[in-house]
Symmetry: C2
Subunit: 424 residues, 2 copies
Amino acid sequence: MLIHSATQLLTLTGGPQRGRDLGNLGLIENGAVLIRDEKIVAVGPTPELRAAHPDEPGLDATGSVVMPGFVDPHTHLIWGGDRAAEFEMKMGGMAYLDILASGGGILSTVHATRTASIESLIAQTRSRLLRMFATGTTTAEAKTGYGLQTATELRLLKALLALDDEGPLELAFTFLGAHAIAPEFKDDPQGYTDLVSQTMLPILREWWETHAPGRPLPFVDVFCENKAFDLAQARQILTQARSLGFPLKIHADEFDNLGGASLAVELGAASADHLVKTSEADIAALGSSDTVAVSLPCTPFGLAESEYTPAQKILDAGGILALATDLNPGTTWNESMQFVIALACRMLKLTPAQAIVASTINSAHAIRRADRVGSLEPGKQADLLILSVPDYRHLGYRYGTNLVKQVIKRGRVYSVDVGYYRTA
Amino acid sequence: MLIHSATQLLTLTGGPQRGRDLGNLGLIENGAVLIRDEKIVAVGPTPELRAAHPDEPGLDATGSVVMPGFVDPHTHLIWGGDRAAEFEMKMGGMAYLDILASGGGILSTVHATRTASIESLIAQTRSRLLRMFATGTTTAEAKTGYGLQTATELRLLKALLALDDEGPLELAFTFLGAHAIAPEFKDDPQGYTDLVSQTMLPILREWWETHAPGRPLPFVDVFCENKAFDLAQARQILTQARSLGFPLKIHADEFDNLGGASLAVELGAASADHLVKTSEADIAALGSSDTVAVSLPCTPFGLAESEYTPAQKILDAGGILALATDLNPGTTWNESMQFVIALACRMLKLTPAQAIVASTINSAHAIRRADRVGSLEPGKQADLLILSVPDYRHLGYRYGTNLVKQVIKRGRVYSVDVGYYRTA
């Protein structure tokens, strides 16, 4: 199949794009992409590719931007229940402790997740994957973390593996048993830390060989914040994970600066995520490392807070910046990377081009899938978007509705409906 | 047709909801709505309505919220061209004067609008109406204002009348010849003010009788801000409009407080809109009037500004608060009232229930259509939404994707596709 006549073809070739180099779209006007057997075979100007492949069936992208599918490198997309009532209480001005007392907060999601069947978890999560895919996310990271006990955490992984098999959205897996202190260890956070590092991780290692044979090991992630895991506990868990062969991620500096980003760099983590209260020293560490700095602007937005990732400082330091939704039931239930881009332009002061790079090739690096996704280059998976707009800058500029017209995943074309039809 | 078994039916009965009374949804669990001949005949619990109408064809709303269609009372939805390039310059840090010098700003839209054919304007606008309708707006106000010369302003009205005839989205019309000083009058704002009040308005009055016979007169609106129309000029235009029988609206306090809101109250305007820099005196005036205070939170959001309408003060003063998109190419290109609700919860500190009232029955009052739309009451138009969620609080809580499943306009059912399908 030859996708041709794209008004703008964004190739995102090369990368990751570091520091002030961020924003190179590799734009080809009147571009074309040749796809065979789920992969990209050639990319270039339409006249050139059409001349070389005169009989190839075509897909006309006139008037459209064609670009790589979004890679969302940080989500908590599997959970049970919802926290709509808690949102109303928060907006009504209720204090967080009162919300907790009335059954809100992360532990309400843990309870709903623990008591849900795997079938129910899969069904609830599938509805979110549908919204992600329809808004252009073709690959997403997916974390466990609402189980906080071995059996439930593994049930979440099992559900995620099944959803990945089902497709079309492709998942990268992360074990986040250290998302919060389990309620059973409320007064003994070190006890839960030991459970995660000494019991859960070895079990996970064996479980993975049986249940996901041949797949790369999942990431192991820790929520390094006050009232969750302190720096020593995060180090304990991540060091153990590394010794077992797991690649690493960290939640750092969402509310407090504990040094988690520098720890991520020290341990060679794939990414350090959130990065709001990040110190100059942590920014410098990120800037001279390959650990991707993943900003989650929907989280402060969702919480109506005014402080965001110091993205410009991270770019000044030479860091590799990526963007993600942080999709979760407590702070930000938004599936769309398009909205992340719109927010990043306004709150992180990125240009649309920079935000696009941070949502494709750089975010692919954050989940170590840049060999397969995140750009349009020969040999990579044919994961593409056809937008209903002729200029990439409509991403960011416009928000609130879906600008994706077609999603192509591993060479298969899916149409997204922007609109409605009369049924009665 | 009997829409039945709605998990939550929001009737929004009565209204407008003033001050601290804002937020009464008139919620009926397991609710039903009987529709005949484009109108609502009865509203109540499902068992009751089903017993009274056992043979009525049903539409099952199990698991869904059923509520009135959104009424968007402030849009500039008709224009030519776009300003995506300008957005990129702004996010890249370019100063406004440099953007103007490189051809940006409102006058670039005026140029693109003046040079567009009516067919092109209708086609461009139709694509936006589609997004509005698919995200649940069943009635919207639509302003002229990118012509700034008599012929183009009337061409815009003609296009809007044609789009309203085409449906299904229903429009309320506003003449905004006084949107900005026309470029020909750059150094003579009073000259343009005189042209609008003494020439355009009388011509409009006659034109309307010929081109829209039997329809209520459009609103006349003025942009009362520094560098646009000062308070005396706004008074001149609105007083003349009132003497010709036009209902009134005003843009006030987006950037500067000139007293426009109090002027609106004094002249009995249907609404005063924007209201960011509004003074205590203006808030007090609104609070004791029937002039609806229309907040446009997408405008500061779109511009990445941090100051929003002092909504809580307006409620404390007893004002009638409504919400709108302000859809326009310069400051906020967002068609979705769902996103307005999400933003209003976070930035104006409204509860989801308050934001819903401000987007339905109160916004219907802002365009003086509350006799026909904005609530589910016998005798009103059958303009309803069926949401894909079981609890109204998902509006506000969730954002970035479309929670509407079906839109019913004048009794006709339109399905909205949330999702995708494989085509190749």
